[in-house]
Amino acid sequence: MALYSEKVMDHFRHPRNHGRLKEFDAVGKVGNPTCGDVMYIYIKVNNNIITAIGFETMGCAAAIATSSMMTELAKGKSLEEAEKITRGDVANNLNGLPPVKMHCSNLAADGLRIAIKNYRKG
């Protein structure tokens, strides 16, 4: 499949950390069904560290792969480190995304930041 890198396809075929966590401290919801991409990011936080993370995503292969990659990048990080993860970091770790997918499908980092914000709000 020339459209996506092998790394994207790997995360699309075998998504990491997918599903809602049984116990979570906060959720970040991002996207909208009209565009076709929606992500829910669930986090469990212990001593300021993201100890568990899960996602639910409706969207294209890029949306699923970026969700999966973001969870890998965020897991085990402190909240301060995690909120520094950018869309670019997610895309780079997937060996790139088609330009048209960079904005609409690459929302996972935004979803994580919303989850962290919601966690801090309590």
Binding site: F12, G19, G36, V38, M39, T57, M58, C60, A61
Partner: protein
């Protein structure tokens, strides 16, 4: 198992067609416009092909213009007639819609007719839209995404009564829906070879005697001056052969119904387009809570080739204009998949496709935040 269910995009060139074409590359390769014996042989062959192609739609041979395909035929018909006002529909193929939009920018008035949730037009709206300045009605014979078969005979009758030329894009319909240009009062018709197991790069425009067009390709005056360029002899022979093979019996409709039934067993799915007035090879299903590209790529992993007109597939990110015209919300159109059969499709392939689709939809719904029971 490899299953090709994207026959509305293009089809396998039939082995008989390839065999027929081969001769016109390596043996009878002369230019049909040449006066020598070899040229005249090529001309005889292609004129015979023109006759049999004409016969398939009940036209006269001299009413057939050979083109490079459906897109060129649509462009020639729509731009060539020089109309001040054109009536078309919201669900046409881009070859028609974009030709109309190009003319619209230059001042031509275009009316885009609405369709109902099954993709059918309102004939009263058509009648009301025709005015003194209307120079063309262009309405497709069957829709490429949702398979709706439009009532050509009724549209033709209205156009005839009001004295407006009627063009139809029959690219998807040819070979699947009976077409009689005389009985249906069709003045122009576009068709393509590669949708019926013929070669790519080959099509026709039927133009009824008396209809005047401005050619878009000028040159040596081939095709009565309507379309210059040396005749694509192999393509012409291949198209005629493909049309001849079309007459063979097939069980596409039975397999289509089996596929529809199997897919609708999946909860929260719906058939896009009509149940009855539908092309015998088209199935288009919306799977709620998931997105089409994911379905397409997971099915591709299982060896099944399908298509989606939805946002992410084509890189245009826009939901299908056809599904939106039916009144579907963008979020409903995103999870739609088109399965299109051919006469080579087997029952085993359909069974496999149903099983695999069930698995794929389940897998993607597990990933989705929507449609869960809790």
């Amino acid at each position: 198992m490899r299953v090709y269910l994207d026959n509305a995009a293009t089809t396998m060139t039939a082995p008989e067609v390839v065999a027929e074409m081969k001769r016109f590359f390596s043996e009878e390769y002369a230019n049909p416009a040449s006066l020598h014996t070899m040229g005249q042989h090529a001309k005889e062959a292609t004129e015979k092909a023109r006759e049999s192609i004409a016969k398939a739609i009940n036209a006269e041979p001299e009413e057939i213009i050979f083109t490079s395909g459906g897109t060129e035929s649509d462009n020639l018909a729509i731009k060539g007639i020089n109309a001040g006002h054109i009536i078309t529909t919201k669900i046409e193929h881009p070859a028609v819609l974009e030709s109309c939009r190009a003319l619209e920018k230059k001042g031509t008035k275009i009316t885009y007719l609405d369709v109902d949730p099954e993709g059918l037009i309102d004939l009263e709206q058509l009648k009301d839209s025709i005015n003194k300045g209307t120079g063309l009605v262009t309405i497709m014979a069957a829709n490429n995404e949702i398979g709706t078969i439009l009532p050509l005979e009724k549209i033709g009758a209205i156009c005839k009564e009001r004295g407006v030329p009627f063009h139809t894009d029959a690219v998807q319909a040819l070979g699947k829906v009976p077409i009689d240009v005389k009985a249906m009062n069709i003045d122009m018709l576009s068709a393509s070879a590669h949708k019926i197991h013929g070669p790519k790069g080959m099509g026709i425009l039927y133009v009824k005697k008396g209809i005047k067009l401005i050619p878009s390709i000028h040159g040596g005056g081939h095709e009565h001056g309507m379309r210059s360029g040396t005749g694509n002899t192999a393509g012409i022979m291949g198209m005629a052969k493909a049309i001849e093979l079309m007459q063979e019996k097939n069980n596409m409709q039975e397999l289509r119904d089996m596929l529809i039934k199997g897919l609708l067993e999946i909860p929260e799915t719906r058939l896009n387009g009509p149940r009855q007035k539908r092309l015998c090879n088209n199935v288009n299903v919306a799977f709620k809570y998931i997105e089409g590209e994911g379905i397409l790529l997971y099915l591709d992993e299982a060896g099944i080739s399908v298509s989606t007109g939805s946002a992410c597939s084509s890189l245009s990110l826009k939901p299908s204009h056809v599904l939106l015209a039916l009144g579907l919300k963008p979020e409903e159109s995103h999870g739609s998949i088109r399965f299109s059969l051919s006469r080579y499709t087997t029952k085993a392939e359909i069974q496999y496709t149903i099983e695999e689709t069930k698995k794929v939809v389940k897998r993607l719904r597990e990933l989705s935040p929507f449609g869960k029971e809790d």
